[in-house]
Point group: C2
Chain length 590, copies 2
């Protein structure tokens, strides 16, 4: 037997007991007559003491232990004279009578401490050492707790977890699929699911009524900082539901996990229309933890012979409370340059400083006299001491830019509390987006999203302009500016689904080839249904107030889609290639 | 709102309430003045009655409802005059006041009944209709219940569920991998995991201590009747454990799920060595629900001038109690022919009938007189009335053949109770199997399995014959002749792991290239560890006393690896191929 107890459970009540512990050497301190070893495992750290007077040989052995050696120790639990209140086991120590090295360790390439000296690449390559670090271990344990709480809530709500297939069929809609060549059907491919969307709809047609799954999904996209080629979803679908029944259920789930994991009680989630979110925050995922909402100045600011404004479709301001003094001209120049970077692409940034002394300074003071600028104060809800920042241009683009500026200002002014949680539902999205370049509609959510009931008739018969105005029965859950999940009421009618594929530019043949099974299913008694999917990795991160999902994934891939530890992807055998009837058009580097 | 109640919950206590129900029309019966509609959903069936006298128009509508139409009905709950005791809702019915068709249905291609007239192919193509059938729906719900019970037991036991990656690295060891071409690293491939084996070991090196996961795994094998290219495992690993601690934990899990799901209390599981299992049953997964154990006759039967026996390495018998009369010469001929099919390949089948009247009849009566045959009775534990069946030949082959015969006789004689459960642990497997053809060793379990402690020194230093005799610290859980799971204590020492790769025919470079990260991890304080994996699909089937795993998978693939519903795998776009830098060496049929 390797242990009678783990390294986190011994207390004063165990004093006098003979115990066996196994674990890793966190640190070994040789104080001459005594050698102290901190023994670590997942459960905690226990101090072990070796006494030179009592057992010199054993103590000599202990002195030679290196960091991260794996050892088994036998001994007696004793009360510590020098107690450590910061450690649950801090009242006791083990007086060692036996020591066995189960495995040695080389010196680790970085320290196994809460704050490590290892860079990202090193941590990924030696992920087994990184996982020993408490913050990483705790994140992974937190993730598993979140899965438990999620499953409990949904199971108790009558949802059945059903595993949908991983080897499915490639469809060109949406992001790029990962594909899997078939050996038994040479020349043909499976695809890995971007989501189990059509399968969960099929389960509703099959009468499953309430389905969920915590499930891996896959997207072959160029990876940004916080994207992974494989990610996890809480995927759900319900039959015979209206939008608000879906929202209530998953608002309930969200409240449940916040309560269970953080002991945070969330208030009821506000609902905000897509249009309102854009007007107030310039984003369909607004961070509502702070104000600084958009104030449209288009009417007020035009007609003062300032050509830049006069020629703009849209002029918008935010008011940074009390920041007039904080921002020097140099600071504002920096901010302007930040906004002019190609990632944001603003042409310029106009500012008004309503100074504490009542005077006004503005970068457009030439065009607007103080009286005019002061007259805007009411609209802007600005007071003396406030800094107002203004952008102008094409409306959609300017909203996006101002959203970035608002978030940046929120950060700079310290308005964002990482442990405050502001959830909201964004609803009433447009159904279709017209893409000028490809001259076709794109589905704002996905091709299975239903238009709102009142728009269904119009969708079947309306003209091009009507299509642009259709509203989807779709919804997103946003927390702290992060899209946690989204979903919709689905189309369950063959004619409507077929019309949607038409609008999205599918030929009849393509629609039939790719989604014929679903449209076929709609002809055999498909119930009204709808659902939602939450990004599980992102939900973990938001709950813990962290930005990166990577720290909640046991074995993440880097931005090149590589697993640094196992060194994958990699070249495969010629035999494998020929069994799959494949040839590579690039030559192996090896 | 589509419903106030589901179709399974209304009782006498609801009589008088106005309710709304939605569901599928199971059947509609027009009895002239009254039309009865059975409305079905996942939860049950509720009878709805339409009264011609009270609302002729509504009743006319109801008469037109076809099977599987989806409808919403409003009405009042009333006590039935003609109660149906077989149905939980059988005391009440709904007096309909409103009917709305939510979706029509074509006539289904097969009946949505417990016993359907649909063949396998039709059921798979229209899986959404098949899932509406109660036995399929119940199997899927049973599966989800089994997952819940499994997670509960393991979580409460301190196991952390950790998701391991699906996009990993191809290794030629074991079965064939499915591979996934990488677009970002052209010419290179990911592989889908056959199991998370190395990752769970890495988690142990990382100090996770107790890991589990219910996880999809993938094998690109030629599919037999009961194999699927993607299947699900309960995958586990523990650090600082001995074999018996692993067995106790997972015996506990097995008992827990039998109790929770079937209310069956299992007795403690016997342990049987691999050698003993082969001697007694000719199989390392013996079905111990019935006796008819092997009796070796090699010594007794040789030396009587019967050349077939005299030239055999091994002679073995089973005794079918009381079957002498049951089996005519014609029956025995049929049995012999069954054994001579190429799948089994027996040369012949010898029989002895110890008749009820005390006389003896045997197919080898020419060579053995009655006295001799009677003298075998004690060894055979045979009595008058018993039928003894004998096979001979090369030992290993003959054991396999006799195993088939024993199972067949068990079936024919009705000795196998599908709802009896006989679990056992098979232990002490050989570590390595010598393959004459390829002149190399194969790992009996997998390359990470540790030899038993007492064999480790011999493994590092021994000769070829020593290697053949090494025992693995491996174990299988067998229930009713089905291998439910298997596992082992793993190697956690670099030298031993490296030696194992040598023996398995890996070059140093191959071992380093494929498993360098694991051997590297063993140098940084790898703890002793071991684990197990249960076949989740198979566990479902065994618990329900069924043979096929396919009925427990929502969307199974057929024997050609095809999903008949979505028609996958399929050809992909030329653009996709070229982005992946791939060319197919076969031409598309389309």
């Amino acid at each position: 037997m390797y242990r009678t107890h783990n390294c986190g459970e011994l207390r004063m009540s165990h004093v006098g007991e003979e115990v066996t512990l196994s674990g890793w050497v966190q640190i070994s301190r040789d104080l001459g007559g005594l050698t102290f070893v901190d023994l670590r495992d997942r459960y905690g750290i226990t101090q072990v003491v070796f006494n030179m007077d009592e057992n010199a040989e054993l103590c000599q052995q202990a002195r030679k232990l290196g960091r991260e050696f794996v050892v088994r120790i036998k001994g007696k639990v004793a009360e510590r004279s020098n107690k450590n209140a910061n450690r649950p086991t801090g009242n006791i120590e083990i007086e060692a009578s036996n020591l066995e090295i189960l495995n040695a360790s080389k010196v680790p390439p970085f320290t196994i401490e809460n704050e490590t000296d290892g860079g990202d690449d090193l941590r990924m390559k030696y992920r087994y050492l990184d996982i020993r670090r408490k913050p990483v271990m705790e994140n992974l344990m937190f993730r598993s707790q979140l899965a438990i709480a999620t499953r409990k809530y949904l199971s108790e709500g009558g949802f059945i977890e059903v595993e949908t297939p991983v080897l499915i069929k490639s469809t060109p809609e949406g992001a790029r699929d990962f594909v899997v060549p078939s050996r038994m059907n040479q020349g043909q491919f499976y695809a890995l699911p971007q989501s189990p969307q059509t399968f969960k709809q099929i389960l509703m047609v099959g009468g499953m009524d309430k389905y969920f799954q915590i499930v891996k999904c896959f997207r072959d996209e160029d990876l940004r900082a916080d994207r992974q080629p494989e990610f996890t979803q809480i995927d759900c679908e319900m039959a015979f539901v209206t939008r608000d029944e879906v929202l209530d259920t998953f608002e309930g789930l969200t409240k449940h996990v916040f309560k269970e994991l953080l002991d945070v009680t969330l208030a009821d989630f506000p609902k905000m229309s897509y249009d309102e979110a854009l007007e107030r925050y310039g984003s369909d995922k607004p961070d509502t933890r702070f104000g600084m909402e958009f104030v449209e100045l288009t009417e007020l600011a035009k007609g003062h012979d300032f050509p830049v404004f006069d020629n703009s479709e849209y002029i918008v301001a935010i008011c940074a409370k009390g920041a007039a003094d904080q921002y020097s001209n140099k600071d504002i120049k920096k901010l302007t340059e930040w906004m002019q970077r190609p990632q944001i692409g603003a042409k310029g940034l106009v500012n008004i400083k309503y100074q504490a002394d009542g005077s006004v300074k503005s970068s457009v003071g030439k065009f607007y006299d103080d009286a005019t600028l002061n007259s805007w104060k009411e609209t802007l809800e600005a007071e003396n001491g406030d800094l107002v920042l203004i952008l102008c241009g094409e409306k959609e683009k300017t909203q996006k830019q101002m959203n970035e500026l608002r978030l940046e200002m929120g950060k700079q002014l310290g308005l964002i509390d990482p442990m405050q949680f502001n959830p909201l539902w964004v609803v009433d999205f447009p159904l279709l987006e017209w893409d000028e370049e490809s001259e076709r509609f794109h589905a704002m959510h996905h091709p299975f999203t239903s238009p709102k009931k009142e728009d269904q008739e119009r969708m079947l018969t309306g003209d091009h302009e009507t299509m642009k105005a259709l509203r989807a029965d779709a919804y997103d859950l946003v927390i702290n500016g992060v899209e946690i999940g989204g979903g919709s009421i689905r189309i369950h009618d063959r004619a409507l689904q077929s019309r949607n594929f038409d609008l999205l530019g599918f030929s009849k043949e393509e629609a039939e080839d790719q989604f014929g099974f679903l449209m076929g299913a709609f002809e055999y008694g498909a119930p009204p249904h709808g659902g939602i999917a939450f990004g599980f990795d992102r939900l973990c991160a938001v709950l813990k107030g962290q930005n990166s999902i990577r720290d909640f994934i046991a074995f993440p891939k880097n931005n090149q889609g590589r697993d640094m530890m196992i060194d994958s992807p990699s070249y495969i055998d010629e035999t494998q290639m020929s069994e799959l009837a494949l040839e590579s058009t690039v030559s192996a580097e090896s």
